[in-house]
């Protein structure tokens, strides 16, 4: 057995893994809207932190 079979197998398996990742990401709709996420990532996180306190105490947090 030559090492070339091992190397070829590895390289193709890696390539196929990425290919499958691509297909899955398209299928999940990641490429449908390529614009909004670029804006969303720029928002401040302050609200998300408050949101973590579960929904109930939300009303009380308004004091600030």
């Amino acid at each position: 057995m030559s090492v070339i079979y091992v190397l070829l197998t590895i390289s193709i398996v890696v390539a196929i893994v990425f290919f499958i990742a691509f297909i899955l990401s398209v299928r999940s709709g990641q490429y449908d809207d390529a614009y909004t996420p670029s804006i969303r990532m720029l928002f401040e996180d302050e609200l998300v932190k408050e949101g973590l306190d579960s929904e109930e105490p939300e009303q009380e947090n308004q004091s600030n």
Binding site: L8, D32, R40, F43, L47, E58
Partner: protein, 791 residues
Amino acid sequence: MGKIACYHCGDDCGKVPIEFDGKNFCCHGCRTVYDIFQSNNLSYFYELQSAAGATPQEIEGKYDFLDTDAIVERLVEFNNGDHQIINLYIPQIHCSSCIWVLENLNKLHPDVLSSQVDFPQKKVRISYRSQELSLKDLVLLLARIGYEPYISLEDYDQPTKKANRNLLYKLGVAGFAFGNVMFLSFPEYFEVGEYWLEQYKSLFRWLMFFFSVPVVFYAGRDYLVSAYKGLRSKLLNIDVPIALGILTLFIRSTLEIALDLGTGFFDSLTGLIFFLLLGKFFQQKTYGFLSFERDYKSYFPIAVTRIRKNRKEETVEVYAIAPGDRLLIRNGELIPADGILITGNAQIDYSFVTGESEVLKKESGDRVFAGGKQMHGPIEIEVLKAVSQSHLTQLWGNSVFQKDRHSRFRTLTDSIGKHFTLAVLAIAFAATTFWLFIDSSMAVNVFTAVLIIACPCAIALASPFTLGNMLRIFGRRKFYLKDTQTVEQLALVDTAIFDKTGTLTTTQKSKVSYQGVTLNPEEQRLLANTLRASNHPLSRALYELLAEHNIMTLDDYQEHLGKGVKGVKGQSEMKVGSPDFVGHSDEKISENTSVHISSNDTYKGYYVFQNQYREGITAVFNTLDKTLDLAVLSGDNAGEKSRLQELLPQLTPLYFDQTPQEKLDFIASLQEQGKKVLMVGDGLNDAGALAQSDVGIAVSENVNVFSPACDGILDASKFKELPNYIAASKKAMKIIKLSFALSLLYNVVGLYFAVTGQLMPVIAAILMPLSSISIVLFTTLATNLLGRKLN
């Protein structure tokens, strides 16, 4: 006078801003939204982008139909009883603040679970607990903060459209295979004959084969199918030589590796298909938030209020309306079916249907037609015809709307494809015959080599990249075209027909002239204050245009629906309204919208509202007149004829009182004379003409609101650029022709190698991407240069 901008929406606050929390607002709606955001910790909204808000509109009763479960069921995307997901189209979405606040809806209402904005589509997908928060409440919540969703009959008919991701998958497959095949064939390019390579070459080659199979039969399938269809209908389109090239490449390469004759051309094959698909992908620029396929359904409501025999109101879907039903049409609602007015003060705006901007008064017993919008208070109508049989909707029964209009058009690439295929086949056979006499073993080799090298990859790429880039350049300049083919058709037009109202004129009638006895300052003051009290659109418009006056309280104020208003202060009395109302009936009725005035029962005079023509229309017509035949088709009466004649080049044909059907027929008759017609219109009354024309362009004051089915939407502010856009598309076609010449040059070089029988895979592998990439570079640079000259 410095203008005060509203803190929420940025509009001018007018003469009396509303102050709240140290900030100025233009209206109570904006103030309320600010208040809601402020008290819910959402004031970050204003930090992201200042004055980003939208003024909430009157919505009383408008969404009552969402109480009906059957309707909700058809609108939502997911529903399991206590959890619903809905996708709403919100035309107001325009900036990052909008995204932020809509994605933080759960701060406003705890029963909203999550919301996600799709900015290009202007849609928001909201998931919520439907037990606690009904769809109607959700919609009302959105409307209250200025993000009123637009729900029309269209959503009802086809609730969810699946996104088409096929091209992305194909591109993925082709790119994946191309990279790997290139990688696997690299050793063969340089070190043929080395020991270990000799030993494993068949393994490498079969691997390449397996990578290529899905590329040919999945990613390249469209080309094979299109060529087959073309051949079957005896058309030699550009896909024929492409399919021929693909198949030859695949079969010859497979035979070569099976019989151990050589390496094959799998690298070129996968690269070719990858580049072709890239071109297609680039061509496919879509404006998610615009729809070019609208018909009356996008304008119609889903449900209306029906009054039962026992005077109870109920909400019914519009398709269920039957002749004989009584309907309640509220202020601002659309009349969904032809009928007879029973009660109420009907002031109907038919601008959707006829383009005529004037509001029509109707009295009990008059006919009212579908598509009209009630402008003043509630009315009751009795339905005469079902929705699908109304005067308006019948226009869509015309065969123009069923035809796939583009199938009539042959693109430049396709017409070249025919000559190209014939030339390639001729060269292939000539070269083969030649080689049969010299060295018959080379004949097959040369024949396939010609087909491979002549595969018109570069030609097929020239048009998608040029036109795709033009589409983007136009889009940045607020001229949105449906597809690349429209650019090509725009370059070919020789006749341009314009609608008048809304296309040549602006939607606001803001030019006013006064005729009659001059009013003294006291009268002017009373007039201004009388108008101030009225809510009628004409009063509002006139009030805004009058000089500023001190506000005073009227002693008496009466509004006579459909007639006019009366204001009294001390001894003086002022009547404003129709000629009859002010006691002036013998005046010849002006063709234009006018407001008459009398003071203390003496007739004073009248204000005439004139159509305001768009800036630069004279220049636009003068420029276009040099190259195109022009005409104006108007649904309006001839009241503006003399003014139009002044503005437009002499002898421009003007046609008035045209019905939608007449407009359509007019275009069709021009086309019968062999003309390529560009129709520029705006309303539903132009829908037939827009569909019939070779290129239909809708002019729109606000591209987010609705324009009829068309090939392109032009932002009204860019109307004066239209001649430049047409000129630019003509230049784009020249760029395509130049790149055809360039790619033919590559073909000649390639053919030299092919005909002389020395086409090595490595040459094909270099030549093919080289020609493609240089064409892409050339067209992109040339169109960008062209785009820079616009503006």
